[in-house]
């Protein structure tokens, strides 16, 4: 799904996107709702190939929400905006009665400029292309699950929440003909790959042993019966790159802090069209489908 509009004016292309952030809990290891709100919108712009420039910010606050927590959130937003090199130029605040909203909701909209030679789209993948991921998957989803404290589970996992525009810029420098790029947020890497496979009418084959997944995340998934491929990320992107440029992109990614653990996880093939196939470490294969609804833990 494209959550971004391309606007053309006198030959220059602008990209425009908006997203609303709600998260429980508001603060979690590795970030808070403020870091999500800035990094999320910056990443939406970045993966379209745009250079993010300006953000707006709307905040809905439940009556009685502590001011010092609000300050913490604002400080996080500022920090990430500085890190990403974007400016928050306009904003609005509304306070609603207690019970009318859950603590704090944030909306950000962002505008960026797309360089003329860049053409990234989910429908560009071609057989022979290579699929690259910029690091450990499932960290954010796991960190949130554990931070909710409903599970008697403890693990040292922090959210991967980070802006990706710097990484995308170095990737585009290494290979301007990157075909597809998408940040793997809700629905995880599996959902992004399915979107690529269907939009491009190709098959994507990924290899389980090649997936960078932390042991803590694997462990939590084993216990809860979840699949890390569907866990949310907030600082991960999936790129489809022509084979000729793959090694250059991979090297550029690994040289950047947001891509230090980047890995080639699979390739694009002709058939079966529209399908993502996982080659398991065990020697079998299975289809990785779109997720229906939320992932729910299994009982036994």
């Amino acid at each position: 799904m494209v959550s971004l509009a391309d606007l053309s004016l006198h030959g220059d292309r602008l990209a425009f996107t908006t997203d609303t952030y709600v998260v429980d809990p508001l603060f979690f290891p590795g970030g808070d709702i403020g870091t999500l709100a800035v990094a999320g919108t910056v990443n939406d712009l970045a993966v379209s190939g745009a250079k993010p420039l300006y953000l707006s910010c709307g905040v809905v606050i439940e009556e009685g929400f502590p001011v010092d927590l609000l300050r913490r959130v604002a400080a996080s937003m500022q920090r990430i905006a500085l890190e990403a090199g974007v400016r928050i130029v306009t904003g609005d605040t509304k306070v609603v009665e207690r019970g009318s909203a859950d603590k704090l909701f944030i909306n950000t909209a962002g505008i960026g400029v797309v360089p003329r030679n860049v053409s990234i789209s989910a429908s560009n993948a071609r057989p022979g292309d290579v699929v690259i991921l910029n690091g450990y998957l499932g960290d954010h989803g796991t960190a949130i699950l554990i931070a909710r404290k409903q599970l008697a589970l403890e693990a040292d996992v922090a959210s991967d929440c980070q802006p990706l525009n710097g990484l995308v810029a170095t990737m585009l420098e290494a290979c301007p003909t990157i075909r597809c790029l998408r940040d793997a947020t809700r629905g995880g890497v599996a959902t992004v790959l399915n979107e690529f496979a269907q939009s491009s009418a190709v098959a994507i084959r990924i290899h389980e042993p090649a997936m960078p997944i932390r042991d803590q995340v694997k462990g939590a998934c084993e216990i809860l019966g979840l699949d890390p491929l569907y866990l949310a990320n907030e600082g991960k992107l999936v790129a489809v790159v022509p084979e000729s440029g793959a090694q250059a992109v991979l090297a550029a990614m690994r040289a950047h802090p947001a891509g230090a653990h980047a890995a080639i996880i699979g390739e694009v093939t002709e058939a079966p069209r529209g399908v993502v196939v996982l080659h398991t470490g065990f020697g079998g294969q299975r289809i990785v489908d779109m997720l229906f609804g939320e992932q729910l833990p299994r009982i036994c």
Binding site: R186, E222, T280, G281, G284, R286, I299, C300
Partner: protein, 469 residues
Amino acid sequence: MKYVDEFRDPAKAKALETEIRGVVARIERAKQRPLQIMEVCGGHTHSIFRYGIAQLLPDTVEFVHGPGCPVCVLPMGRVDDCISLAERPEVIFTTFGDAMRVPGSRKSLLKAKADGADVRMVYSPLDALDLARANPGREVIFFGLGFETTMPSTALTLLRAKADRVRNFSLFCNHITIIPTIKAILDSPDLHLDGFLGPGHVSMVIGTRPYDFIARHYRKPITVAGFEPLDVLHAMWMVLKQIEERRSEVENQYGRIVPEHGNAQALAAISEVFELREFFEWRGLGSIDHSGVRIRGAFAEFDAERRFAVPNLKIADPKSCQCGEVLKGVIKPHECKVFGTACTPEMPLGSLMVSSEGACAAYYNYGRIDGWRFAALQRNATGRRRRHRRERPGRTRAGTRIRHAPARGKGARHGRQPGPWRRRQGHARPGRGRVHQRLRQPVAGADGGPGRGVARRFIPARRPARVHH
């Protein structure tokens, strides 16, 4: 990951695969028709699809996916009962996560929650008890679900609730027991099963003894199996070896977890709290004698069925649904008339499409990499996908909240609104009264006398005195 990776070693899998091919080649019977081995437990079904284990087997061996997914076999009427309990204003209704999506005749618990009912997901019945302590002004009901695997934790929770005199906690008991159901399947006339992979976690509680009748009376080999892919392959090899050597025994592949006599403490807790029901209804299989448990009189104050007026509606399975035949291995999931069309994981019509452990959902999600799956995908690539995307609950990437829109199109009605199969309370539809009568008629009761008619077929070989046989 330590203690897990060892059981997923591809080199060992390859060796086992070669062994299995050797054994199968020596079995004469396999030359006429494929050997059918049923994995009883939903956890095995999940592993088989997740790791692509079926593809490692020769074509002359097939998995038949059994009834051991407690979420899948829950009848619609019980889900409706849950929702009517959850919708009471004083109630906090607590449940395991994967029961949230099971459709009742009107809606699922997930939908009831969206409509305002206080439904909360817990990971243990003890969490529900804590919730009751923290909310003394509310009634907390725990939706007890599952086989002997989850029964001990529910039993211990009730024991603790009683000891601590927690007055606002109760259990809506839907626990079921696997043995009578295996028996019912073995008794069905259209069955071709050659052997069983026995459930691992159930056996951790009940031990391996209760399966003796399968080997002795029905002459079918059974191997209790673990859930890692090498466990499943190893157990498969053991069952095939039995077939080759014309043995029918109860073997235990999962010895690192499963003791022969089970877990005495867990069994004691179960028998202190629960007693067998005369019968319990299963989705796709109908009513099966002694296949469910209820709360004993001594714990009546914690029994939601006694404490609240539960409507206890009986709702027959949808007519087009062929879950029963899939469960017995008569047809494959994708051979069902409604597979992937009227019945999908998002809008399940039959029980087996409900949970990821259900055979149909597993086929649909993880499908074998062969022709039917892709043919179906190509056919539905545009229509089905688009519809799903529009209706997927949750939030889109752009952050807009989506609730279930009213469905349109073929099959949309199923599982959403009362369908033509929905029977009014106490009134059988003309010509379809059999199920109803079966539920009402006397069955093997306290006096041990056999029931009549259809129910008789499902009576266990020996009448169990307690939960376990």
